[in-house]
Each structure stands twice: as structure tokens, then as C-alpha cells.
């Protein structure tokens, strides 16, 4: 082992972040060899040039201490940790993105409810009469806006209400609509899965920010003046004023 190699080993031993030692050694060697070449160029023989160059490199202990400060152990460890975490995250992401479809996320986020009455016109469904919609309202994290309410058919006595729900909480799905009940002006109570003619059903076509909600109410034989729909858990309610039987709203 040459004197320089011995010096170099002493210096790098003081650098606690071991992965940097090879690079430090390479840099010191390059610097030393440049220095030796300079001394030879001005007339020194090789041995003397090496001695002078080594002396010019300084005290191994002091140089090592300085390099240890420059190559911070904890910063180095943190850098290594960040590299491994990045690699693991990339593997994790690839594994999950390979299995799932990309398009679903964008479709849910970009989801904009379509106007239902236009859809019904397209499908040729008969709208017997429109019902004036109540005012829009806010409940929980959702802003509800009415889109359309109508009778689907006089034979079915079937009322449909379409409303849109908006929330900025993109991580949540649309509002849960299965907790609806209703009462009408005749005192009838409408529940889900009811064995009586009067029943109410709520559903939602879930987007992330916007959700299209539908409420379908099956009336009894007698036509009430109004129906009050209530969401049992959220607490919101609205009243639909129905037109006279056979009349216009």
C-alpha cells in the first residue's frame, strides 16, 4: 500500500456515510494525481513529487472531518430512504394500476348528470304532466338542485323526481338515497319495499362531484294534493304539490 493509499483510507474512514466513500476516494485520487503531475512538470522526480503532493493534501484527520461534515450521514440516509420509498411506491402503483381501469376515475370525476326530460323524449316515454319543483336545498355535504318532476303515466300513478347533488368532497360517493319515506295529504305513509300500493324508491347514479338522484313514488288509487318526501337520516324534506287529477299543474 502506498503512502497516498494509506492517507486516503484514513480520510475515508472518518466519513460515516459509507456509500459516499468510493466517490470521495476517486475525487481525492484525481486531485492527488493532478498535483503529482504538476510537480513533475516543474522538474521534480516522481518520488519527490508524490511526497510533496501528499503533504499538500493536508492532515488526514482534518480532511476526513471536513468531508464527513460535507457528506452528512443523516442526509445521506434520508436520501437512501427516499430512493427506496420511491421504488416501492412505483412498484405498488404499477401493481394496482395494472389491475384497475384508468378511465373509471376520470369518468366519475367528470360526470355531469344529463337532463332527464331530454332522455325521456329520446326514448319516447310519455310524460303526462310536469310538477313544479320545490326550491333547491343543501343537506350534509351535498347541494341538491331539482332538475325535473313529473308523472310518468296516469295508469301507473307514478311520480318521478330528478335532482342533482353536488359535493366538493370528491373522495365520497353520491348521497345515499335508500332512507326515504313520504307522507301525503290523505295521511298515507310511503316506505321502501312496502306491501301497500304506496311506496317510495330512491336511487343515485354516482359520480364523484356530481350525482344524479332519482326518487320514484307509487301513488295509491286516490290522488293526493301533495306528497312530502323525507330523508330519514339526513333529515331533509320537500313537498310536491300535485296538480288536480286530470288537470294541469
Amino acid at each position: 500500500m502506498t503512502a497516498f493509499e494509506q492517507w486516503c483510507r484514513e480520510v475515508t474512514a472518518r466519513v460515516r456515510f459509507a456509500p459516499d466513500r468510493a466517490a470521495i476516494k476517486k475525487e481525492l485520487t484525481a486531485h492527488y494525481e493532478d498535483s503529482v503531475a504538476d510537480f513533475i512538470r516543474v522538474g521534480y522526480d516522481r518520488e519527490l513529487a508524490e511526497n510533496r503532493a501528499l503533504a499538500a493534501m493536508g492532515d488526514a484527520g482534518e480532511v476526513g472531518k471536513g468531508l464527513d461534515r460535507a457528506h452528512s450521514f443523516w442526509l445521506g440516509r434520508l436520501w437512501q430512504l427516499s430512493k427506496w420509498t420511491l421504488l416501492l411506491s412505483a412498484m405498488f402503483a404499477v401493481a394496482f394500476m395494472y389491475e384497475y381501469q384508468w378511465t373509471g376515475m376520470w369518468e366519475e370525476l367528470r360526470f355531469v348528470p344529463q337532463p332527464y326530460h331530454q332522455e325521456m323524449e329520446l326514448t319516447g316515454l310519455e310524460t303526462v304532466m310536469d310538477i313544479p319543483c320545490p326550491e333547491d336545498f343543501t343537506a350534509g355535504i351535498y347541494d341538491y338542485s331539482f332538475q325535473y318532476a313529473n308523472f310518468m303515466s296516469p295508469d301507473w300513478n307514478f311520480v318521478s323526481v330528478y335532482l342533482n347533488a353536488y359535493t366538493p368532497c370528491f373522495w365520497m360517493k353520491g348521497p345515499e338515497m335508500d332512507a326515504l319515506t313520504a307522507v301525503d295529504s290523505l295521511g298515507n305513509v310511503y316506505t321502501r319495499y312496502s306491501s301497500r300500493p304506496q311506496s317510495i324508491f330512491g336511487g343515485a347514479d354516482s359520480g364523484r362531484l356530481n350525482t344524479a338522484c332519482i326518487i320514484q313514488i307509487t301513488l295509491g288509487e286516490e290522488w293526493p294534493e301533495w306528497i312530502e318526501v323525507k330523508h330519514e337520516t339526513a333529515g331533509w324534506s320537500f313537498r310536491l304539490e300535485l296538480p288536480e287529477e286530470g288537470g294541469t299543474p
Binding site: A93, G140, W171, T191
Partner: protein, 218 residues
């Protein structure tokens, strides 16, 4: 541009964050903890009040657990499912909190368990009698289950184990247990009348309080 070590660390942290956010997004922004899944589900029901988790059962063999929580004056129960790091809460059932509150499991296809939230001091064991009664194939079906349970904190858990003996009639029992589950959710489509009676006892076996409720098609 050559980055120094500090800049590389910042770059890597940002890249990790972006990758994890992207992974979360393509999964449909799922909840990551049981508490988070329940809280989000409660919000989806339009409830803004704070959700306090009172009880979580252990994960069962189908990676599901029951969760009892409180929102305002109401007690709720839901079922949280685990799929790798994703947690999903099912439907919730809310009931007004009483000294003895019966909570029916949600999200089950198989025979169910009944959960009892008990705020009676000194109750260490409880007994539950479930009578399943209804019409099945034009005949009266009647079966009773007696279940005992020890307290898990303030919760008693009564699993209903089918009495099936391997005969074809076992399907009747499962059908009626399924109806019981539906009746608890107000969805029964049979002429049935199921009765649940609970009694909580102290260490000496003295009955501290009893409660009965009937699940019947309206």
C-alpha cells in the same frame, strides 16, 4: 441541471406523494382505516354530526367486521370490509340509543348476529331469545334460538347458528333467517313476525333489565 442531495430528497418525496395519490385515485379514493370508512359512509347518509366509534369486532374469515358508532343521540351499526389496504363500509342502520339497544348486523348474506349495546352498569352476561315465526310454503314456520353472551365492553354479541341437520328442510331455516335479516331492515316480503328478547345479568346471575322487540311487516 444537477440536483444536490437535499433537492433529490425533496424530488423523491414529491414523486412518492404523486404516485400514492394516483394509486388512491384509480382505486376510487377508498378509505384507509375503519374509522375513516365509517365516517365517510355516515356523511354519505347526509349526517353532519361527529361520528364516535364505540365498538369494532375482530376481522372475520370473510375480512369483515362489525362497527358500532354514535352520532348525536343515535347509535349506528355498519359492516366494514377489508381488501388489502382498502376499507369499505356498507349500509348503516341507526337506532335511538336506549339502555338496551338492539343493533342488527348489516351487509350479511349468511345467518346473522345480533349486537346489543348495553349501558346498564354491572351487566356482565346476557341472554337473547330469538323467535323466528312466519309463513313458509303455506305452512307455519316457528323456530327459537337461545343464545348467551359475555360482555365485550358494553357490547354483547349473539351469533345465530342455524340448527340445520343436513336435511332438505335446512333451506327453510336459512330462508327464514334471511327473512329475519330483511325484516330488521324493513324489507321483509313475507307474513312474518319475529321476536327478539334480551336480558342482561350481573355477576350473580340476577336479571338487571330486559327488552323485547318485534320485527313485523307493516
Amino acid at each position: 441541471m444537477k440536483l444536490n442531495r437535499k433537492q433529490k430528497i425533496i424530488r423523491n418525496i414529491l414523486a412518492v406523494t404523486a404516485l400514492l395519490l394516483l394509486t388512491w385515485a384509480v382505486q376510487g379514493f377508498p378509505a384507509l382505516t375503519t374509522k375513516q370508512a365509517v365516517e365517510w359512509r355516515v356523511r354519505e347518509y347526509g349526517i353532519e354530526e361527529e361520528t364516535e366509534i364505540l365498538y369494532t369486532s375482530d376481522w372475520d374469515e370473510t375480512n369483515r367486521r362489525d362497527v358500532i358508532f354514535r352520532v348525536g343521540e343515535m347509535l349506528g351499526v355498519t359492516n366494514v370490509r377489508k381488501n388489502a389496504w382498502i376499507r369499505t363500509a356498507g349500509d348503516i342502520r341507526l337506532r335511538e340509543a336506549q339502555s338496551l339497544t338492539i343493533l342488527y348486523q348489516t351487509g350479511r348474506v349468511d345467518p346473522t348476529a345480533i349486537l346489543l349495546w348495553c349501558s346498564v352498569d354491572g351487566a356482565v352476561e346476557a341472554e337473547c331469545v330469538v323467535n323466528i315465526h312466519g309463513m313458509l310454503n303455506h305452512e307455519v314456520y316457528d323456530e327459537t334460538y337461545e343464545i348467551r353472551a359475555a360482555a365485550e365492553g358494553r357490547v354483547f354479541r349473539f351469533p345465530i347458528v342455524p340448527k340445520g341437520t343436513g336435511s332438505p328442510n335446512d333451506h327453510d331455516e336459512l330462508a327464514m333467517l334471511w327473512d329475519f335479516q330483511n325484516a330488521a331492515d324493513g324489507q321483509s316480503d313475507r307474513d312474518s313476525r319475529h321476536t327478539v328478547t334480551v336480558a342482561v345479568k350481573d355477576v350473580s346471575g340476577n336479571v338487571l333489565e330486559t327488552y323485547q322487540e318485534i320485527l313485523k311487516r307493516e
